[in-house]
Every structure is written in structure tokens, then in C-alpha cells.
């Protein structure tokens, strides 16, 4: 009688161990799957943000806050961009982590534009969050009103844009 009871107990223990092992195995499989999926989703989100930044950089000249005049479809208004720098209501408006302009030609003093030195500068940063990674670049014309010639003046320039950083909770 005692030996029969012991056998049954042993069987129950065996079964319990097997079940626990199966459970742990499936838990591991699920963990691996979830981590692979999370990585894939994060990559997809990063790619989509990069695409967004690229598209934005390319169509930047159509944005009302930055476009020059109706006569030039590929020009950015540096005067307006300079005013935009001081307006905090636009902080999250474009959904970007980085947005800046650079005058490439003719070469001007390598300085960030601020109210005190404008227009004797070549870089204008509108958005710069510490989290941004790489920025997409597109070539454009940067135009402004020139007091000396009393006419508009355009430079060859570039726009740099970077999408929002993808937040990770893992």
C-alpha cells in the first residue's frame, strides 16, 4: 500500500516537472518572439521617421512658414526662418527633432545666426533636440532681403532634418 502511494506521488512529481518545463520552454519562446518583434517594430518606426524627415526636407520649400515667394518654388525665406527661431509656439509643430539650414555658397563666416549677427552668419538652427540621430539633407536656395543692394539675395544652401527619435521602453 505504501509503495503504491509512493509510486503515485513520484508520477505526480514527474508530471509536474514536465509541465513546469513545458511552461518555461513556451515562456522562453514567447520572450524571444516578443524581443524579435519589438526590434523589428522599432526598426520600422525608425525607418518611417527617417522617410518622414527625408520627405519633409525635400518639400520644405512649400511650407508656408519658410517659403520665399510665389515666384520661387525652391527657395527658403531666411528672414522668415530667423523670425521663426524666436517663436516658441512652433516648437513641436513640424514633428521633427532637428531642423537647420546652412549657407554653402558663397562662403560666409561660420557662425550660428542670432538676432545680433544676422545676416552675417551661415547656420540657422530652428529645432535641435539632444535625442536626434542622423539628419537627412536636401539642397535648396536660401533667400533674404539685402539692405545694401536693396534687392533680394539668394545663396546655395542645404536643409538638414531629422524625424522624432523612437522611444524604447525595453
Amino acid at each position: 500500500m505504501i509503495s503504491k502511494d509512493k509510486k503515485a506521488q513520484l508520477k505526480i512529481q514527474q508530471m509536474a516537472f514536465v509541465l513546469v518545463a513545458i511552461f518555461i520552454f513556451f515562456a522562453f519562446i514567447s520572450l524571444i518572439y516578443v524581443s524579435i518583434r519589438m526590434n523589428f517594430m522599432k526598426k520600422q518606426a525608425v525607418n518611417l521617421e527617417a522617410d518622414k524627415a527625408m520627405e519633409f526636407a525635400q518639400k520644405m520649400t512649400g511650407v508656408p512658414e519658410l517659403k520665399w515667394s510665389q515666384q520661387c518654388d525652391s527657395c527658403i525665406d531666411l528672414d522668415k526662418a530667423m523670425m521663426l527661431k524666436n517663436r516658441t509656439v512652433y516648437n513641436d509643430f513640424f514633428g521633427l527633432d532637428h531642423l537647420s539650414f546652412e549657407i554653402i555658397y558663397p562662403v560666409i563666416t561660420d557662425k550660428e545666426c542670432i538676432t545680433g549677427n544676422y545676416p552675417n552668419c551661415n547656420k540657422l538652427t530652428l529645432i535641435s533636440k539632444s535625442s536626434y540621430d542622423t539628419a537627412s539633407r536636401a539642397y535648396i536656395s536660401l533667400c533674404r532681403w539685402d539692405q545694401e543692394t536693396n534687392n533680394e539675395m539668394c545663396y546655395l544652401g542645404a536643409v538638414y532634418a531629422s524625424g522624432k527619435a523612437v522611444q524604447s521602453n525595453t
Partner: protein, 313 residues
Amino acid sequence: MKNKKAIEMNFAWIFAILIVAMIIALAIYGAVRLVSVEKKSRDSATAKELSVLLTPLETNLESSVTTPLQFSQETRVYNKCDLNGNFGTQSISTSTSSGIGNKWNNPGVPLKFYNKYFFSSDPVEGTKMYALSRPLFMPYKIADLIYLWSEKQKYCFVNPPNDIENDASSMIGVNISYSKEDCPLNSILVCFTSSGCDIDVSISSRTVKHKAQKTEYYVDTDNNALLYAAIFSDPVLYECQLQRLWFRASELALLYASKSESLGTRGCTSQSLQAELVSYASLTKNKNSSINSISFMSSQIADDNKALGCKLF
């Protein structure tokens, strides 16, 4: 007494059955949850892809081209608008049809934009959709408006004026007819000279009336941007998006006023235009301002800007 036979189950069997049942239940629950999470993530990614795909539409070059959008399966695009914050918000979410359970489940995570303006019915449903973009100038460029409709929504413009007829001839899914009877069956009738259609347009009073809905007012611009917005959009959505456009016009007016001030220090001043821009900013910010007063002031600013040596826009 007869001996009744019964199956004798020991504890090991009962324990095993219980555990197996629990594992199967857990596996089914896990699979269902996984499918639902996967679907939600796919729907969210679709909404994001849609927003990226529609970005190039917002340029001047492609503004008159209808862009077809093909989805891999039947999809609903939910278009929501709210007026919170300085610019209001545009939310876009999608839901794909499902063969199991309910055909339409909850949409994926909505994507929020401050700088986009979609005009459509809510939701737009179909495997194939069409998008068209028009810039709105009042008097400067305020935004690119995007109109979205599906292959299921066949529009029929009855007796449109020449400029609208020209535009409509390049729109996919829009027919032009000279009488209601000539329109294809089940199409949405848009009448320009008569009434009693699904959508009645009055060019003289600048109104659009959807059947059993509130009248929408629009401003007559060169490219009929707001007229098409009123036609393709649900009236409630149109009102909300229009208000968002005025919010943006207000901030742009302040930006141009600052630019005018800055140009003033560089020998190109226009104090009257600067004052007008500040007034235009408060007029467009005020939710109770009439569309006609905004239109009137916009023309005034456009005239003053034309007279300037250094144009603001």
C-alpha cells in the same frame, strides 16, 4: 443490487487534465492577444506610411494630380480633428478588415499632426483611395489641403462652372454630367445650378449643403481649395479644419508682422501693413469671426503687399 461500472480516475489524471486545459486556454488567449496586438501594430504602421506617402502631395508641383493609394486589403481611414492648442490637431488612424469576428475592429494608434489638413468623410473605406492636394492662399499660403476619397465614393458633378469642370476632368472617381439623370447609379450627386442633390453648391452665395446637414461656407479662392474641401469633407470635419486653418493663418500673420518689423530696420518699412497683419491675426484667431470679414481683410493685405518694394510674401 446491480454492480454499476464507473471509470475510476486517479489524482494524477485529474491533475494532468486540469493542467493541460489550463495550458490550452492560456495558449488560445495568448494567440488571440498576439493577433490583436499584431493587427493594431500593422494598422498603426499603415497610418504612418499613409502620412509619409501623402507628404510629397503637399508641394506646389503635384498639386493638381490625383494620387491613387492602393491598400493590400480593405481599409478604413479615420480622420479626426480637434481645436486644442495653438494649431489644433489632425489625427489619422487606420483599421483593416478582419475575416475573424467583427469585420472592423478598433483602429490602430492615431497619429497626430499639427501641420496637416485632411478633408474626407469619416471614415473613408476601401481598398483603393484617391488623394488630391490644393494650396490655400489667403492672402499668403496658409497650408496644403488634402482631399481623400475612396473608389466606393463615386462623385457626379452636375452642371459645374468651367473652371470646376476643368479641375474635375483630372480627378479620378469624379464624373461630369449636364443632368442628374445622366449620372452613374449610386453616385454622390453634386449640383451646381439646381438643388435636391446629395450635395448642393451655390457659387453665388458661396455655400455647400450636404443633404440634411448644416450649410458650409467657403471663400472663393483662385484654385477653389475651400470649395473642394467642403464638397469632399463631412460638414463637422470641415468646420473644425477650417478653424485650424484660421489658427495657422493667425500665427503666420504674426510671423509676417515680425518679418515686416525686421525689414523695417533694414530700410524697407511698411507700418500700415504691419498693423493690418496684427489685426488679421486677431481676426483669424477669434472663433466667432465671419468668413466674409476674413476674406475682405485678406484681399486688403494682398493689395498692400503688392504695392511694397520688398514683398512680404
